[in-house]
Structures are given as C-alpha cells and as structure tokens.
Symmetry: C2
Subunit: 419 residues, 2 copies
C-alpha cells in the first residue's frame, strides 16, 4: 500500500468494534459504583490495567519499556534507523469517581492505531510509540499531570517520588510496590511529534454536532483566593447603613467575575466554584467571606487583564462596603499553544476522512500540555455526552471514539511517513 | 415624699454603683472564656444566678413566687388592695458566648428600682413585680423567648417541657433538676403594665450619642430559605453561555436582598447571613446553592412587600441563569407595636430626667414581644459599645446602665402611682 496516495490512505480506518471492546474490557478493572471507574494512580487496579495494556501491546508486536516514574512506552519500529518516534498516548488512571473514557480513550485509540497499521501491513519511516503517562489525574497524589510533568522537566523526579497520598503513602514507594518503577531514564525519549486524543470534557462538540475538535490551545489558568473581612452584627438591630457585610462583598465579586468572563466569551471563562462565609448563621451579618476564583483563557494577555480587573474590582467592592481584603494567587499556568504543523496534520486528517470538525480550546489540563514543552504536539478531541466528565456518568458513543481514533491514526501516519 | 410633685420625683435616681456592683457580682456566675458569660438556661449556673437573685429580692423585702416554667416573680406590695401589678423584668440566662448585660441589665435594673423605692420610702398604689423570664436566649433549648411565650399563651406548657437540648435532655426534666419548677400557674398573673430595659444590641444610640432609646415597635421578621439547582460543570471546559451556575444565582440574590432593604432604610433590614454552595470546589461550576434570608421591618405591609419582591426576584434570577429553585418560609413573626401609654411613660421619664432620647425600633426579639400580647408593654434601651452583643465582648458603661434604670424607675412609678 502506498501511503502517498491519499485515496488509498483515507480508506484506512480503525476497527470501531475492536476499539470499543478494548475500552469495555479495561473498564472492568477498578469498577466504580455507578458504571464508571475508580482506578486511581498506583493502586492495585492501576497495576492490573497496566498489565493488560502491556499484554495487548506485546500482542501487537510492540517493544515495551518503562521509565523510572512508571510511564510506559510501547514502540512499533520504523523503517529508518535513528528516526525519532512519532508518539501518541494519554493515561489509564482515573478519578475516584471517574468515567471510562477520560484518558483511557487516548491510550486505547493509540493501541487501535497500531493494530490497524498491523492489519494493513503499513510500514512507516519513523517508529511509532504509544505512551501511558503515570498519574495524570492527581486525585490520589497531587499534582495533576505529574509524570508527564517530570518527563518534560517541570518537576524533579525525586520531588515526585516524595509526594504522599491522604494516608501518607509515598508515591515512590507505591510505584515500586505495584511493580511499575522502570529503569528507563525519565525524559530520555526524544519525539518527532506527540498526539493525544481525549474526550472534550465540555459540551461544545456535542451541542454543535461536530465529530472532531482540533485543539489549537490549552487555556492558561489563574486561581485567586480573596478574603473579605467585615464585621459580624445582629441582622435585626444593625441598620443597613451601618453594616460591613462580607457576604455582600463576596456576592458582588461573584457577579464581577461572571461579568468579566462574559465580556470575553468565547475567549475566556471565569468561575467562583468555592465560597464560604462566617459565622454563617441566618441572623448575623457575615464578618468574613472567602471566595476562590478560577479564570482561564488561551490568550495570556487576556488572562492578565482579567486578573487585574478582578483585583481592582475587589478593591472597589471592599471600599464601597467598608471591608478589608486580601487577595492571593493560588496557581498560575500560562496558556499552551500547540504546534502548528501538528495541528495542521490533525485538521487535514479530519478533512480527508470527511469528519466535521472545528478548532477548539481545551479548558481542562492534559499530559499534552507538558509534552508540548519538549516536542511538537497537538490534541484531538471527540464529544462526550452533555459534557459530563470526572463523573461515573461520563459517556461517549462508539462512533465518536472511532472518528477520534481515525483522525489520530492519520495525523500520526502523516508525521510517521514524512521525513 | 409626694410623687405628684415632679420636681421631687425627678430627684429620685437609682444608685449607679450599687446597680453596677450587682451586675458584676452576678457575672461571676457562669463566667465565659473571654470576659463574658456562659450561663445558659437551666444549667447549674442558671440555678445559681437565680438563687443569688432571689436572695437579693428577699433582702429587698419582696415576695417571691415561681411559676411552673420557672419564671420568677418578686413583688413589692402596693397600697391599694387588688390593684394589678406594674411589672418589669428581663432574663438572667445568656448565650454560650454571651455578654454580661443582655437580659441581666433588665432584671438587675428592676431590682435597683425596688431598692431605690425602698431607700426613699416611696409607696405606690399598685404592686410592683420584678420578673426573671426563663430561657429567653433559646441557645440551649429552642425556641427563643420560650417561657414568656408560654406565659403569653403562644406555646403550650407541655410542649415547652418536651423541648430537648443537643444532648437530648428534656427541658421539663432539667427545670426540675435545678429546682426551679414552681407551682404558680403559668400566665396566672395579670399586669397593669410591663416595662423591659435592655441593651440596644445595635449601634444606633452610641453612634448618635443618645442616652435612651424609647422602643416603639419590634420588627416583624420573615426567614426565607431558597435552593437553587443548577448543573455541576468543569470550570475550564464549559463556556460561559452553557452554564447553569447556582453560585451566580445565590450571588444575585444576596445583592437583591441588600437592594430591597436599602431601598427601605431605615424602615427595614435584609440580610443573607447563611449561604452555601455545592460541590464547593474551585474548578467546578456550582450545581447547588442554598441561601437563607432574614428580612425585618416594623411595618407589616412592608415586610410582606419585601418577601414578594424576593420571591419574584428569585424567580427572575433562576430564569435568567437557567436554574430551578424552591423557596420556603422558615419563620414569620408579625411586627410588635408597644402600648402608646407605656411608650409615653418611658418617653416622659427620659424628658423629665434630662436624658437625651430617641424613638427606636428593636431589631432583636425580647420577652416584651410576647408580654405585649397580654399586657400594655414597652421597652427602654440603653446603648452598648459598638453595637456588639451575643459576644463576650459585649460592653456598656455604668452611667449608661444608670440612665436606663432611672428611666425604668420613673416609667414604672408613673404607672404604679396612677389609678
């Protein structure tokens, strides 16, 4: 088969039922309580899922190596000696009340890509390497995207080993215990390109009836935490003009964050998802309020601008109501911009295969964010029902998974056949 | 001494140091942890304070009787047989982190009134009865103003006996245990008038440098509880126009309640002092919010109007954001309007004594609210520092207490000497 012939190439499609069966098979490991999965990083169940995955990889003729943080690399050789691998992957670990597709789809669609190439006898110039990144979810051991972060040089390996779960168990110890501490140096693999297929975890693609999201950027994120200090007072005997109501400050800030993000829609989001007041009794004016703010935008300058507006807004609100306030940045991550060539490969694949598609910005974090620091990278998204994720009710349809895997296949092929 | 001579009468003043000493003495019983008191209803400390109080009453020649709910009536006889008593009183129980003056001042100022009449050899036509009402605070056994409520026929006695504290102890059992279940039938005392001196528990008098508040009304109160149901969603991957943010609904409602009350200042107050959202994590749009609203006004129609505006406002907010909502009335008490003659007695006393005064509306609830249902009643207020109450930091000055007690003395005298 000559891959340079586009008509031939686009006839190559993955095997939808086989992909779906693999997804359902691995979902039997670490079942949740409501149809999803609880397969947190470095649990016995994570070990069992890795074992099944490696069995499948070896069955597909791949050479498997494991690095010192448990990242699994399964490689199909290329025809050219010393050519850098084209990589694809995601993660097999889940949230405690996770779905069956978040992360898992990207890994098993990669496996399906390999199986399809094998079925069709397609040889590539570059090796193709499928990766399972350790502990993307960060729900047991913080932070999220831990091992891809170490791979990309964002965190030291020893620091990662020293992370502990809620019961005090050390990451490094647990990695050894489940038998997945490998010998390959972390970050020792250079990549020609990296592609990650993931469910959207948002509502846009399904709502717009679009098959494929071409992820151009990952949103930058800033978390702010604001404390308003007012004065506790009797709700009955304190006239309105003598109050210093911290709850009112919090409410105005929620409204402001919403307005600031709405003004920039669809290029930003802003959320107050955490909010508390004290003493929190019906007949007392609140003395204290804490508001946690999550703002995101793929445009770095916009994110800075939003933060500045929130800071000055909080100051005005505090002054109007007679509150004192403190504001802290809890977290900040710059926007991620994926590699134009990789984006283009993914978009062309969707076009050639006849899938409807649109550019999309990822709101959630993914391993590809870190990998984009060390290799040309892009992401492909498929819809998920009602945008629900990090929830056992997370759902996709086999044809959505297949479309995503097809685009992954052709994006990878495009890079693997070219010099 | 002829009380019909106003020049003589206004020379009669209570003994400031003796009143203050009594206040400080009783404050040694059930001390708090920060200079205030923890002397909750029917604790051993409540029993001890009652004992000291009765000792003082008997020392002042009063006849003491205790009713079946522990209310203490200490009577100084009048000159006319069968004349109804002029009553005064308040409560000796405190909040768990209570101050030394809330309630206690009204009881011990009443004692000081008696002692002053004794000192001056003043006889009155009507008997004068000093009352300590059981369990005004309601912090251990709900509801507040329990025994004055039973006295006024608002609650059945057996129902009150069956109230239980957090550890399951029954009110009636505890009343017996501390030895203050009397035999006098509850509500068996008819009154010519009832006066209650109380600290303001708000900031107005101190801020305006006014000695005495003449309480014309007690605010009506409505408590509403609103649930907003939205949809939990990822704070990063859910565009602003696809959210159903329950926290935003709550915030707009807080703002609305504030605006509705501000519009009616100084004739109403409105507070959101209790507020919670779920799941309450920084990176999730809130699926649920609960808001508890406290609105008060001395004008019944205004209170109804505010409630209607909140109900329709909540509906609009829910519709705009795409939330469902439920609204419940948790509590409602109609405004209390004190008796014009009693108000007038108090006001004239302040004028005659040369104290600065202003009419004031009580924001908090008091035993006098219930008693006003069965007897002509009024209240007198003195300032408290920074309006702080229900807090161990509650503070007043001896001269403030003395001014209040002087006005109480003359308001009571005015009623006790007249037919």
């Amino acid at each position: 088969m000559t891959l340079s012939d586009p008509l031939v190439a686009t006839n190559v499609r993955i095997h939808q039922e086989r992909l779906w069966d693999s997804l359902m098979d691995i979902a039997t490991i670490g079942p949740g309580v409501a149809g999803g999965n609880n397969r947190q990083a470095l649990t016995d169940e994570d070990g069992e899922a890795r074992k099944l995955f490696v069995t499948w990889c070896e069955g597909a003729g791949l050479t498997v190596s494991v690095d010192q943080i448990g990242n699994i690399f399964a490689t199909r050789p290329g025809t050219e000696t010393n050519a850098l691998p084209v990589c694809m992957g995601s993660h097999l670990d889940t949230q405690p009340t996770g779905g069956r597709f978040d992360g898992v789809l990207g890994v098993l669609a990669g496996l399906e890509v390999i199986r399809t190439l094998n079925d069709q006898g397609i040889q590539t110039r570059h090796p193709i390497t499928l990766v399972n990144w350790t502990n993307e979810e960060g729900s047991r051991f913080a932070p999220v995207m831990m091992a891809s972060g170490v791979f990309a040089g964002a965190h030291p390996l020893e620091w990662a080993y020293d992370r502990r779960d809620a019961s005090g168990i050390r990451f490094g110890d647990e990695l050894e215990r489940i038998g997945w501490k490998g010998s390959f140096p972390v970050g020792g693999l250079s990549m020609k390109a990296y592609f990650e297929l993931h469910i959207e975890q948002g509502p846009i693609l399904e709502a717009e009836n679009v098959d494929i999201g071409i992820v151009t950027s990952g949103q930058g994120l800033t978390w702010l935490e604001i404390d308003f200090h007012g004065r506790s007072a009797h709700a009955g005997s304190t006239p309105m003009n003598r109050r210093h109501d911290a709850a009112l400050g919090a409410a105005r800030l929620v409204h402001l964050v919403n307005a600031i993000a709405n003004d920039r829609h669809p290029n930003a989001v802003g959320t107050v998802g955490r909010l508390s007041i004290e003493p929190n009794t019906t007949n007392s004016v609140a003395a204290y309020a804490q508001v946690a703010i999550d703002i995101r935008s793929p445009v770095a300058a916009m994110l800075e601008e939003m933060e500045a507006e929130i800071r000055s807004g909080a100051e005005s609100i505090a002054a109007e109501i007679g509150l004192s306030f403190e504001i802290r940045r809890l977290q900040h991550a710059a926007p991620v911009h994926f590699a134009p060539d990789c984006i283009s490969s993914a978009r062309q694949a969707a076009v050639a295969l006849g899938y409807s598609h649109r550019d999309i910005v990822s709101g959630a974090g993914h391993d590809a964010y870190w990998i984009s620091r060390v290799a040309p990278s892009a992401m492909i998204m498929c819809p998920c029902v009602d945008g629900i994720s990090h929830n056992e009710a997370e759902e996709i349809f086999p044809e959505w998974a297949a479309a995503g895997a097809d685009v992954l296949l052709h994006a990878v092929l495009d890079n693997a056949v070219k010099v």
